[in-house]
């Protein structure tokens, strides 16, 4: 094989996956002795991981041109063993725009988090092993989304679950880390077993494991075993996406893991679950035409959205709060995908991308706070904006993005989701979609409330005396956050570019199952539908931003000219008390309005709901396992009736 042949872009997907696994292997070979550099105890291993993720990202970026813009679907048979006798006998990688879209998200998040890890993991033991697991996790997720073979998807799911569990438990001394890892392991393995069962049931019916071939065989020949398989697969991927009823695990795992890993678990692992669900419903079974299926996804999406945002409001730990928000945002994605329109899918994918960016940013900011202060308890922090101004600004960008404040990216995608939902409601004359739109709109405000709470109790308000000596985080960590922040802003200001380059090709790929099947060399009976991304709303962020800037400039000029912050000499007495806070004349004492005390007016009216929810999320692993079993049973019943 000569070099030109090797650099053919059809090989890039497998290179992208292999380079990560190779990275894991090489880091492992490098041994476990920490290096002498106090700023990078992993030494060379950190750079290996960084290079591996960087190369992987680069390879995937190079694929944008042929796959996203050219509309090509790359079908890659490992070892050139393809189809024999009408059956796929080889192991395949199949990269359509949807796979590439998710792969790009994953690679970006992994790369940025690797940059962040170098300085963030300084205080930990066993950092060399951290990078082994890190590369494994990254490789597992990437392999999952690029795979064209359902059994390989299962294997990748197992790899990523293991790596994620191990990394969740990585900081064994952190409060609850082991416990979180164990819970995640139990329910995660139930999910994985469910996926395996689903895979094997499908194999028993169709004697193939190739996704494209399954997709060409399943529709039209559904029987009870297939329906059972669907239910198992759905539940399996739900546990990976942490949607209701698996959200408590997300909260535990995201909260306990190191921040750089929380980024992956929330920004990347959940996406793999969403990817699985899209593949399952749109491709394998092609059930999205069914009202029952749309109802299920929209319903579960809306419930995830609302339940998780209210759970987040009740949290008093920074990372746990972020974790619940993560699932709330995944609820948006699921709702949008469940709308079953091209616009909906495009909006959902857009939001999935934004979620990776802003949630990554927020978790990294939480990690920065943890790194400097040693706690993420909202009740103990405060006033950090004076000590960590850059982190504050970056956090605020993330917070505005997630709460859908224009012109950041969260708003652009949420705005599309509202429209898609309402348009769908009007088209089908179905009031359920309208309810979903209203829930989405209200959830957005509650998200804002929740982040106002974090802003007030971590970054603003008063600085507790014990954090007098806190410093800004090292440049490496700020760089990682900065990359994500810039992406958050850019994807918010240029929604049309993002849509035409990334989400619309992916959404088109979702709609055209036939091409996916045919690219692999199988016969497809599904025609490729005409898709339209038309929407009724108007929003031009660039113009708005321009006007706002002019207005702000005019105001600032006026303010500066008019001595906006004029100070005059005091008349003498008590100058030192002049700049103290007003406490009714009392001497200044440390008095911070903690996160738990905010929004009493809201919580009081919903107290029964909050009490009920608190009791429900009992923290006992048996309960969560029971939820999983019940969800499985319900899913089986629903599929039997609905499909």
């Amino acid at each position: 094989m000569n070099f030109t042949n090797m650099m053919d872009y059809h090989h890039f997907p497998i290179y992208a996956v292999m380079v990560l696994f190779l990275g894991a292997f090489v880091t492992m070979v490098c041994g476990t002795r920490p290096s002498k550099n106090p700023n990078n105890p992993a030494g060379l291993r950190a750079w290996i991981a960084l290079c591996a993720t960087g190369v992987s990202l680069l390879l995937l970026v190079l694929l944008i041109k042929p796959v996203m813009l050219g509309g090509e679907t790359i079908a890659y048979w490992m070892g050139s063993r393809g189809i024999a006798g009408g059956y796929a006998i080889g192991i395949a990688l199949e990269v359509d725009a949807l796979s590439l879209f998710f792969a790009l998200l994953i690679a970006t998040a992994v790369f940025v988090s690797a940059i962040y890890s170098i300085r963030y993991m300084v205080h930990d033991d066993c950092v060399p092993q951290y990078y082994v697991l890190y590369c494994l996790l990254a490789g597992g997720v990437l392999g999952l989304v690029l795979s064209g073979d359902i059994f390989n998807m299962f294997v990748m799911v197992e790899i990523l679950t293991f790596a994620a569990v191990a990394l969740t438990a990585f900081r064994t001394r952190v409060y609850g880390a082991l416990e979180a890892a164990f819970k995640y392991l139990v329910v995660g393995c139930m999910g994985s077993s469910a996926i395996l069962t689903g895979v094997i049931l499908l194999y028993a019916q169709y004697h193939t494991l190739n996704l494209a071939q399954l997709a060409s065989l399943i529709p039209g020949s559904m029987n009870n075993a297939t329906k059972l398989a669907f239910a198992f697969l759905y539940i399996g991927f739900s546990t990976k996406a942490f949607i209701v009823p698996f959200h408590p695990l997300a909260a535990d795992a995201h909260g306990a893991a190191p921040a750089s890993i929380s980024v992956l678990i929330s920004g990347v692992l959940t996406k793999s679950g969403i990817y699985g669900i899209i593949r399952l419903t749109w491709f394998l079974f092609q059930t999205m035409e069914l009202g029952a299926m749309q109802f299920m996804l929209v319903f579960i999406g809306s419930v995830s959205m609302f339940v998780c945002v209210t759970m987040a409001l009740a949290q008093h730990d920074f990372k746990r709060l972020l974790a619940y928000h993560s699932i709330s945002q995944i609820g948006y994605v699921l709702t949008a995908v469940g709308l079953s329109t091209a616009l909906g899918v495009s909006a959902g994918l857009y939001h999935a991308m934004n979620h990776t960016l802003f949630k990554g940013l927020l978790f990294l900011a939480a990690g920065a706070v943890l790194h400097e202060t040693g706690t993420t308890d909202l009740g103990k922090l405060g006033g950090l904006s004076k000590k960590m101004p850059h982190t504050t600004v970056l956090f605020l960008i993330g917070a505005f993005s997630i709460s859908g404040v224009p012109p950041f990216n969260g708003f652009a995608s949420k705005w599309l989701i509202y429209q898609a939902a309402y348009q769908r409601a009007v088209e089908t004359n179905n009031i359920g979609f309208l309810a979903a739109a209203v829930v989405a709109l209200v959830t957005s405000t509650l998200t804002l409330a929740s982040f106002v709470k974090v802003t007030q109790s971590v970054f603003f308000g008063q600085l507790p005396p014990e954090y007098e000596n806190v410093k800004e985080v090292p440049f490496g960590m700020r760089l990682a956050m900065g990359i994500l922040a810039v992406l958050c802003v850019l994807t918010g200001i240029f929604p049309n570019t993002v849509m035409s380059v990334l989400t619309e090709p992916a959404a088109r790929a979702v709609a055209s199952v036939g091409e996916y099947i045919m690219a692999m060399g199988f016969k497809a009976t599904v025609p490729t539908p005409e898709v339209s991304f038309a929407h009724v709303g108007v929003w031009t962020p660039v113009n708005w931003l321009l006007i706002l800037c002019i207005a702000l400039l005019a105001l600032t000029v006026a303010a500066l000219a008019g001595r906006y912050d004029q100070v005059s000499a005091s008349q003498g007495e008590n100058v030192e008390t002049k700049y103290q806070l007003f406490y009714g004349g009392e001497q200044n004492v440390y008095s911070q309005v903690g996160g738990g005390d905010l929004f009493w007016g809201f919580k009081h009216n919903w107290r029964h709901y909050f009490d009920f929810m608190h009791d429900l999320h009992s923290g006992v692993v048996n309960d969560y396992a029971l939820w999983a079993v019940v969800a499985l049973a319900l899913a089986i019943m629903y599929m039997m009736i609905a499909l």
């Binding site: 059994f151 294997v155 197992e158 293991f162 569990v165 191990a166 438990a169 064994t172 409060y175 609850g176 082991l178 416990e179 979180a180 890892a181 164990f182 819970k183 392991l185 139990v186 393995c189 139930m190 994985s192 077993s193 395996l196 069962t197 895979v199 094997i200 194999y203 028993a204 004697h207 494991l209 408590p248 909260a251 535990d252 909260g255 306990a256 759970m311 009740a314 949290q315 746990r320 929810m613 608190h614 999320h617 009992s618 923290g619 006992v620 692993v621 048996n622 396992a625 029971l626 079993v629």
Partner: protein, 116 residues
């Protein structure tokens, strides 16, 4: 007689679920997970079974039109699955040891610092 395999697999999976849901001891939870895994493995291997088939091991010369063997793919899958099952057990046991060190108990009802 293959039906018995399916019934047994179903029974094992349910038994696994039952153990995980009702037993409050961490080790028993892990046993439940293993039992569930075995149920799935049994299901896989039964699916590939063909009555009267031989092992799918042959050389090119032996392959004739009348060759009759069980489906090899499920067997390969089972191997993968067994390995993964062993990993799960190992991982969870190591977690349990650390959990016992820090919590001093194996009762799931007491290992619930994270809740709400």
């Amino acid at each position: 007689m293959i039906q018995f395999n399916y019934i047994a697999a179903f029974f094992l999976i349910c038994l696994g679920f039952y153990t995980i849901v009702t037993k409050y001891n961490l080790v028993k939870t892990v046993i439940g997970m293993s039992v569930m895994d075995y149920g799935v493995n049994l299901l896989i291997i039964s699916i590939g079974y063909t009555p009267g088939g031989t092992a799918p091991i042959f050389t090119a010369g032996e392959l004739t039109q009348a060759s009759y063997f069980v489906d090899p793919i499920p067997q390969a899958l089972t191997l993968t699955s067994i390995v993964i099952g062993a990993c799960v057990t190992a991982m969870s046991m190591s977690l349990i040891i650390r959990l016992h060190e820090s919590y001093g108990t194996l009762d799931t009802r007491e290992i619930r610092r994270l809740r709400g």
